[in-house]
């Protein structure tokens, strides 16, 4: 019994220690705001993390928007409420699916790449030699990726929302024949800038912080072996995905829950 409790205690302490290290690293990296000379590094990361993710975001958004529109139209047309397709599509995308799916795709595409890149740099002692040259890897390697992710993901979410709505228009209006005027005016009536767009983007910003934080920490803290890198990359995707889904519930509860 005592050894069982000790094992649990050790595991809890180990997790807390990891959380402490992650928090210190995040604090130090966030405190190093990009300086004038670091802007090239930041733009390079925005390109690599954000711009290179656009293709997967656009494809996924179009498909998801099309499917939602198809499902809404099929169900709502039974009651003659096709005009509500636009409103439903926009609210689902802006409030939930935009930030959540972008976060999940971002974790899978950019998060795993960040972890693998930093992990490989650690394994090949590139981070150590940087430290020995008097260059802080937190400023040079971690901070640009952290800020690059935090800037990129909300923008990717905006792209996701726009393309998703367009996907819904293509299926709902152009293919299934819903009335375009009803579609757009329904959407215009239903969507509130502060309630839907701003709160959705706030979610995206929170997910961006969480995913990039996990990704850079897992890379920076990974065991410097091939297995260690593999485990770290897996942990980035799994932990980020679970946290995004869990956080989404609580954020939705606090933003839209009326209790």
């Amino acid at each position: 019994m005592i050894s069982f409790l000790r094992r649990i205690g050790n595991r809890v302490l180990f997790r807390l220690e990891g959380l402490g290290r992650a928090t210190i690293m995040w604090g130090l990296a966030m405190a190093t705001l990009p300086r004038k000379g670091d802007m090239t590094l930041l733009f390079r990361q925005i390109y690599s993390i954000g711009v290179m993710s656009i293709a997967i975001i656009v494809l996924s958004a179009f498909a998801i928007g099309a499917v939602i529109s198809l499902q809404f139209y099929t169900q709502l047309s039974r009651f003659g409420a096709e005009d509500a397709v636009g409103a439903g599509l926009a609210l689902v995308l802006l409030r939930e699916l935009g930030p959540v799916v972008t976060g999940l795709l971002f974790a899978g595409r950019a998060g795993s790449a960040i972890t693998a890149e930093i992990g490989l740099m650690k394994t090949t002692e590139q981070l150590s030699i940087m430290e020995m040259m008097g260059v802080d890897p937190l400023r040079r390697i971690v901070a640009p990726r952290l800020w690059g992710g935090i800037i990129s993901m909300p923008l990717l979410t905006a792209i996701f929302n726009v393309v998703g709505i367009y996907g819904g228009v293509v299926v709902g209006v152009y293919w299934l024949g819903a009335d375009a005027g009803g579609f757009w005016s329904g959407m215009q009536d239903a969507v509130d800038v502060r309630e839907d767009i701003v709160k959705g983007m706030l979610k995206a910003a929170i997910f961006a912080v969480v995913v990039t934080w996990i990704a850079v920490f897992q890379g920076y803290d990974c065991e410097p072996t091939a297995e260690g890198m593999g485990r770290a990359t897996t942990r980035t995707v799994v932990t980020s995905s679970v946290l995004i889904l869990a956080l989404d519930f609580f954020l939705t509860l606090s933003m839209y829950g009326d209790f």
């Binding site: 490989l120 740099m121 090949t124 590139q126 030699i129 430290e131 020995m132 040259m133 008097g134 802080d136």
Partner: protein, 268 residues
């Protein structure tokens, strides 16, 4: 007035988990000379370099670099102090997203405000010194092990540091690369007037180049002196190490039960 020693390690204690790596270790590295730390594998030679570079904090003791204690330095002060140190890792640790030229230019770009044409000239001079001016556009993946180490050496000397530390510079090198690296370490030390500290277990190469040697084992310095002094040392442990005897105070066998007992146990 300059001190006689560039590094002074005093009463250094360092443990990793249960294992004691350094137990009140003391050594002083002379300024301007090529000094070498030798010892069997696993005695903490690389760890010693990392402690001197401030990458690992000891449990107790002092590591004075140019008279300042590395162990008590804050983060910013430590990064500033490291600008006077060049380091060559066993893996070369070249930046894989940069070509050879950019690797050598990296410390100059980060730590100086030199104009681009001056950086270009300096990098080409450094690369020329290691014989790789013609390889400036190659990527690290296109270099052999020996070439990578020479590029890393050029990068380590880019800022003309006071101290250059080499971690096992001869490991895994063919005879020609070995000869080139030996010559480069010696010539760079002479030409730049730097102090050199290398850790190695390659006895012949190290003896041929070092002015002063430290032999460490069991967390302590068990012998030190010039190559001739160490060769003449009558301590059994130093004799075993210097002559590469397979058995002696450092046993050939890892501690184990009696062989007969082990074999009989298997039969049962």
């Amino acid at each position: 007035m300059q001190q006689d020693y560039i590094i002074e390690v005093e009463d250094l204690c360092f443990t990793r988990g249960e294992k004691v790596i350094f137990d009140h270790l003391n050594l002083k590295v002379p300024r301007g000379a090529i000094s070498a730390v030798m010892g069997p594998s696993g005695t903490g030679k690389t760890t010693l370099l990392r402690v001197i570079g401030g990458q690992l904090r000891p449990d107790s003791g002092k590591v004075l670099l140019n008279g300042k204690d590395v162990c008590t330095m804050g983060r910013e002060e430590l990064f500033r102090a490291r600008r006077d140190i060049g380091m060559l890792f066993q893996t070369s640790a070249l930046f894989t997203d940069m070509n050879v030229f950019e690797n050598v230019a990296f410390p100059l770009r980060v730590h100086t405000n030199l104009p681009e044409d001056t950086i270009r000239d300096l990098v080409l001079m450094k690369l020329n010194a290691v014989g790789l001016r013609g390889a400036r556009d190659l990527r690290p993946s296109q270099l052999s092990g020996g070439m990578s180490r020479r590029v890393a050496l050029a990068r380590a000397t880019a800022l003309d540091p006071d101290l250059i530390m080499y971690d096992e510079p001869f490991t895994g090198q063919d005879p020609i690369s070995m000869g080139v690296i030996l010559t480069l370490i010696h010539d760079l030390n002479e030409a730049l007037g730097t102090s050199t500290l290398l850790v190695s277990h390659d006895i012949h190469e190290t003896l041929s180049i070092a002015d002063y040697l430290f032999v460490i084992a069991d967390g302590k310095v068990i012998g030190e002196g010039t190559p001739d002094q160490l060769k003449a040392n009558e301590s059994r442990r130093i004799h075993q190490f210097m002559h590469g005897d397979p058995d002696g105070p450092v046993p050939f066998h890892y501690p184990a039960d009696d062989l007969r007992f082990d074999l009989l146990s298997e039969v049962e």
